[in-house]
Amino acid sequence: MANILLRNRDIPDIGNFEVYSKNGGWEGFRKAVQQHTPDEVIKIVMDSNLRGRGGAGFNTGRKWSFIPKNEPIKYVVVNADESEPGTFKDRELMEMNPYQVIEGAMIAAYAIQASAVYIYCRGEFWDIAHQLDACIAEARENNLIGKNILGTDWSCEFYTHLGAGAYICGEESALLNSLQGMLGQPRVRPPFPAQKGGGLYYEPTVVNNVETLANVPWIIVNGAEAYQQIGTPQSPGPKIVCMSGHVNQPGNYEIALGQTTFRELFEKAGGTEYQGHKLKALLPTGASGPVIPITDKLMDAPITYESVIEFGSTLGSASFIVMDETTDMVWAAYKMMQFFKHESCGKCTPCREGTYWLLKLMTRIINGQGTANDLRLLENVGKQMNGKSLCALNDFAINPVLGTLRHFRSEYEAYINKGSDEKAAPKKQLQPAH
C-alpha cells in the first residue's frame, strides 16, 4: 500500500511546493474551504475517529468541536516538540513532507476559524524550523496562508516558534506557557486549552501533534468512511511506528493499524532477532509507558491502541524501543529514570521529589549497594506519586521502574544478591544525572 503519511518515501521531492501541489497537495484544504462549512469539516474528522498521535489518543474532531464559536480570537498550535525518547516521526514528516503538516494545520485552522497557527518545534529542530519558514512563505505567496485565503474573508497567519530543550514543553499546557515567554511548566486545568482562559494567550486553542494533522488532508479528500476502512473501529488509520534500539534497520515504518502484527513490523525492520540475539522487551511508547516482554503471543497480535492495552501498556506515540536478551533491564530502567529526573520541571512536589528518590534508589541498586527493602521502597514511592501532579510526566516517570520490576524482578534481585561481593570493588560506579 502506498504511504499516506510518509509520502516522501514514494514521491522523493514532495517537500517541494510544486511537486506537492501536483501530487494532490492542497486538495483537502481547497475542498474544506470551498465546499464545506467549518462545522462540516469538524464532523468529518470526528466521524473518521482520527485519534491524536501525540500520545493520549483523543478523538481529534471532538477536540476541535470544544472550541467556542463566538470567540473572536482562536489559535491552532502544532505540537512539534517531539522529545519522548525513541520518537522521531514528526521530524521525518516535517523534514521530508512539510506541506502535508502545514495543510493539515490549515484545515484545523479553518475548522475552528483560527486567526493564527503556531508550530512549536523543539529547539533542536533549528534547521527544520527554518525550512518550515520557507515553506510557509511559499504557501502564503499562493494565497493558502495569510489574508483572505482562497478569496474568502477568512485570514490566518502561520508562525514557527523554537523551544530550547525541555521535554516538559511537549505537554500542551507547558508548551503554551513556554510560547508565552513564561517558564515551561504545566497549568492547572480546567480551564482546558480549548476553553476561554485555557489556551494560547488564554484564548481558545486547539493543540495537535504533527502526525495527527498530517492525517487530516487525506481524510477530507477521501472521507471519514474511507478512513474508517483502514484499521479497527477504535484504531482507524495509518500510524508511523518509530523503531529504535536493538533493531537491524531502525527508522520509521508506516503501518495500517489493525492490519499489521508486531511480527510483520519487526520483519520489515530487519527481523525478530538482533545480531543473532533473541528479542527480550519492548517499550511501545518510548520511556513513558510500561515495558512489555516480547513473546510469541505479542508478536502475533495486531498493532492497535486496544491490543497494547491488553499487554499492559499503551501504544501512545508508537515509539518502539526494542531490547534484546543481552540488555540489563535494571540498567535500562536506570537510564529512563535519569531522563525523568532530569526532565521533571520541578513544579509539583510528588514529581520533583519522587523522581529524585527513584533515581537515587536505582543508582544505589545498580552500584551493588541496594537491599531487598529498596525494591519495596521503589514500589512504595511509585505508588505514592501516582496521579498526584498537574501533568502526566509524573505518572510516566513511575513506569520505567514499576514496569521492569513487574516483569524482570529477578534481575533486580540479582543486583541485590551479588551486591555484597561487589561492594568491595564495584565494577562501574554510576552517578545520578545532574
Binding site: 517531539e82 522529545s83 519522548e84 525518547p85 525513541g86 520518537t87 522521531f88 514528526d90 521530524r91 523543539r122 529547539g123 533542536e124 529542530f125 533549528w126 534547521d127 508562525y159 516558534h161 523554537l162 523551544g163 530550547a164 530543550g165 525541555a166 521535554y167 513556554s178 510560547l179 508565552q180 515567554g181 513564561m182 517558564l183 515551561g184 494567550y201 518509530c242 523503531m243 529504535s244 534500539g245 536493538h246 531502525p250 527508522g251 520509521n252 518510548g286 520511556a287 524501543i321 526494542v322 531490547m323 540488555t327 535500562a332 537510564k335 529512563m336 531522563f339 532530569h342 526532565e343 520541571c345
Partner: protein, 162 residues
C-alpha cells in the same frame, strides 16, 4: 547592543506575537548568537525589550538546555546518551570522545575549540550514535569520523591563527 545592531530582526520577532513576552526565547537565541553565550547584561537587554524583569529572563534561560550561561567551545558537542542511543553504543562513543579530547563531562578543550556534554533524546535515535554540534545534527557516527572532524577543525583553527 542588540537593540541597535539587530533592530530589523527584533522587529520581525515581535511581529509574530500578540504579547511582547513571547519574544523572550527568540531574543535569547539572538543574544547567544551575538555573544556566543548569555552574559548577565543580555538579560537586562532582553528584559527591557520584552518589558519583564531581568531575573525572569535569567530564569527562563536557566530552564532550557540550549541556552548557555557560560562560554562554550567554538564547537559545542551535545552527545545523545539516552536509552535508544545507548542501546546502540552511545555511552561508549561519548566516553571515547571525551577521552580523545581530554575533557571531563561539560568540559572545554584548552584551545577553546570543543565542549562535550551529554544530552537527552534528540529525536534521531535511528541514527545513533549522534550528536548536535552548534544546533546542527551529525548522525551515524563512529570515532574515526569524529577524529577526522576534530582534526579538520583544529587544522582550520591553526590556519586562522597564522
Amino acid at each position: 547592543m542588540l537593540k541597535d545592531k539587530y533592530a530589523e530582526r527584533i522587529e520581525k520577532i515581535f511581529s509574530k506575537y500578540q504579547d511582547k513576552r513571547s519574544a523572550v526565547m527568540p531574543l535569547l537565541y539572538l543574544a547567544q548568537e551575538e555573544y556566543g553565550w548569555l552574559p548577565e547584561e543580555s538579560f537586562s537587554e532582553i528584559g527591557e525589550l520584552c518589558d519583564i524583569d531581568p531575573t525572569q529572563v535569567k530564569s527562563i534561560a536557566g530552564f532550557y538546555t540550549m541556552y548557555s550561561e557560560k562560554p562554550k567551545g567554538k564547537y559545542w558537542l551535545q552527545v545523545c546518551t539516552d536509552l535508544p542511543c545507548a542501546l546502540r553504543g552511545a555511552d561508549q562513543f561519548h566516553a571515547d570522545l571525551k577521552e580523545y579530547l581530554g575533557v571531563e563531562e561539560g568540559g572545554t578543550t584548552e584551545d577553546g575549540l570543543f565542549t562535550v556534554e551529554h544530552v537527552m533524546c534528540l529525536a534521531a535515535c535511528d541514527k545513533a550514535p549522534m550528536l548536535q554540534c552548534n544546533f546542527h545534527y551529525m548522525e551515524n557516527l563512529d570515532m574515526e569520523q569524529m577524529k577526522a572532524f576534530i582534526e579538520e577543525k583544529r587544522a582550520e583553527a591553526a590556519k586562522g591563527d597564522q
